[in-house]
């Protein structure tokens, strides 16, 4: 029971949050956080558990978003149906891709995934007649309030994390980790390595596609450069998992929280602290600094990742014992 205590407390807290918090800004950040829980966890099942690093998860995210958007634009199908289909289409994109790459070992999958993401971005940009090209797709959001979106995102996050946890603790999960640890040994134990790598990719692509479709519904506007962005999605998915803890169930959740908070702190210049200081003291240094910080968030990510890799190579969750020992001075041995 103790194992589920922290997740349950977190769930109760997240479920009750909109009753207490009315700030739209804050709810928006929480929705982003929940989307990143889904994307980070999806990336993690493929890369963290199965050992197949993907540099192209934006492909699945974007395809999910475009599925919802295009169904609405061309067939006037509610984008909520599109959400159900977004995951399926991402899964279908993943199938041939995995079938081509997974018989190979090593860096091929990682390289090909990078090409997949960038390739699909160019295709959506060029196929203007179908996708609207750089004009993007705009739909009217169903709800004006952010609360319904918040709960849908929360549901999606819970379903994805819970399903991934269930898979990891059963036969496919053991097979994924075996493949990560040693493919030859895995094959000698009766594991069809190509098949199970594809299964892992399919699960990963499905949930990422769902997140993309929800993004379309929520934001109401997408274009190829937004949803197929290499650094905003493909790389960010990797950072979320690395910071939180690769190959741990709750790592990406923690990572998503840290990364969204971190991004927001930089974007707003420490929530307007420097701007305020600049006005209060009349000194131009703070105003300049405030501007510089807006620009510096990529640098900040870089430094954060270096710090994590140096001091917490298994991420915040993976190295939690180490953090307890060294930061909070809790020593279980007494």
């Amino acid at each position: 029971m103790k194992k589920y205590l922290y997740p349950l407390i977190l769930l109760a807290f997240l479920a009750l949050l909109p009753l207490v918090v009315e700030s739209n800004y804050f709810l928006h950040l929480m929705i982003l956080f929940l989307l990143w829980v889904v994307i980070g966890s999806s990336w993690n099942i493929l890369a963290g558990y199965t050992g197949q690093v993907s540099f192209g998860h934006a492909a699945f995210f974007g395809v999910g978003a475009y599925t919802a958007g295009l169904l609405f634009q061309h067939l006037q199908i509610s984008p909520w149906w599109g959400m159900a289909l977004g995951g399926v289409v991402a899964f279908l994109i993943g199938l041939p891709f995995g079938a081509i790459c997974f018989p190979l070992r090593g860096a091929y999958f990682a390289l090909a995934s990078l090409a997949l993401g960038e390739g699909i971005r160019h295709i959506t940009t060029i196929a203007e007649g179908f996708t609207g090209g750089m004009m993007g797709i705009m739909i009217m959001p169903t709800f004006t309030s952010k609360v319904p979106y918040y709960y849908i995102a929360l549901g999606l996050a819970i379903f994805s994390v819970a399903s991934i946890q269930a898979i990891i603790n059963s036969k496919p999960g053991y097979y994924f980790v075996s493949i990560r640890e040693d493919q030859d040994a895995a094959a000698s134990l009766g594991i069809n390595t190509t098949l199970y790598k594809n299964v892992s990719l399919a699960i990963s692509a499905f949930w990422t596609g769902m997140a993309g479709a929800l993004y379309m519904n929520y934001m109401g506007f997408i274009d190829p450069h937004v949803v197929f962005s290499l650094h905003d999605y493909s790389v960010m998915a990797i950072l979320v998992a690395i910071v939180g803890g690769v190959g741990t169930i709750y790592g990406p959740t923690v990572g998503a929280f840290i990364m969204v908070a971190f991004q927001e702190i930089f974007r707003t210049g420490f929530f307007g602290l420097f701007e305020y200081l600049g006005k209060a003291t009349g000194s131009s240094i703070f105003t300049t600094l405030s501007g510089a910080i807006h620009q510096a968030h990529v640098l900040g990510f870089g430094i954060l990742v270096i710090v994590v890799i140096l001091y917490l190579p298994n991420g915040v969750v993976g190295d939690w014992e180490k953090i307890k020992r060294n930061v909070f001075r809790i020593n279980p041995a007494g």
Binding site: Y174, E181, D182, A185, A187, L189, G190
Partner: protein, 239 residues
């Protein structure tokens, strides 16, 4: 028809012929030794049997079925298990999880796999270290884990590739005991071994190869007295 047979097996890597026209039969319940100096093609033969790569030509026949060229995981499901000479523990998994992963080749639920894995660990004497990470096991433990993992796939034919190498005298005795116990369980064994004491004590028959070619086959006594075998191991000066 023999339980297991390799027929005119050949493997060429570019210009190098690693295994050249090797043929042998293994009867059910037998411990069959495969010996030869370093680089003579023993592990290459195992790799062809277990599907790591297909033979250039020749057949591998197991229970009246040609299995050459099949994928490793299919051969495992047919009942051929193997260990690796260079041990391949699933490092960041516990010993128990290593064996559970293997047990899943025969069952689908966690409860069954865990039960089977615990029994296999008990059988192989690894129960005390089951919660240890595989990468932190010493060499004797890793060799034993190789055997336990292969056993958890419930093989009828087990290929043991130098499972006694690197063990101290006490561990050697334990390893021989374990191999005998596996045979008493009804598993047929083909074993590659460099330690003559081990191979001579436990094998029913031995097949000797050198430079990929068969040089002798027979009982341990016959093979040990064979001129070609002595030459291969000690050089012509001592033969």
């Amino acid at each position: 028809m023999a339980h297991f047979r390799v027929e005119k097996l050949v493997k060429k890597f570019g210009g190098l012929t690693a295994v050249n026209d090797v043929t042998f039969d293994v009867e059910k319940g037998e411990i069959f030794g495969l010996i030869g100096p370093n680089g003579s093609g023993k592990t290459t033969t195992f790799n062809m049997i277990s599907g790591v790569y297909p033979p250039t030509s020749g057949k591998v026949i197991y229970r009246d079925r040609e299995i050459q060229g099949m994928k490793s995981h299919r051969i495992c499901h047919l009942g051929v298990g193997r260990t690796f000479q260079v041990v391949k523990p699933l490092g960041r998994m516990t010993v128990l999880d290593n064996v559970i992963a293997a047990a899943f080749s025969r069952v689908n639920t966690m409860t069954e796999a865990r039960g089977a894995a615990l029994r296999t660990l008990e059988f192989c004497g690894l129960s005390p270290v089951r919660e240890v990470l595989a990468k932190s096991l010493p060499i004797a433990g890793r060799k034993r884990l190789e055997i336990a993992r292969a056993m958890a796939t419930r093989p009828e034919l087990l290929l043991l590739d130098e499972t006694a190498a690197g063990l101290n005298p006490t561990e050697l005795v334990e390893a021989i005991e374990l191999i005998r116990k596996i045979r008493e369980n009804g598993t047929t064994i083909i074993i590659i071994e460099h330690i003559m004491h081990v191979i001579m004590t436990i094998s029913d028959r031995i097949h000797a190869i050198n430079f990929g070619q068969t040089i002798a086959e027979g009982t341990p006594m016959e093979v040990a007295a064979n001129q070609a075998v002595i030459e291969a191991y000690l050089g012509t000066d001592y033969a």
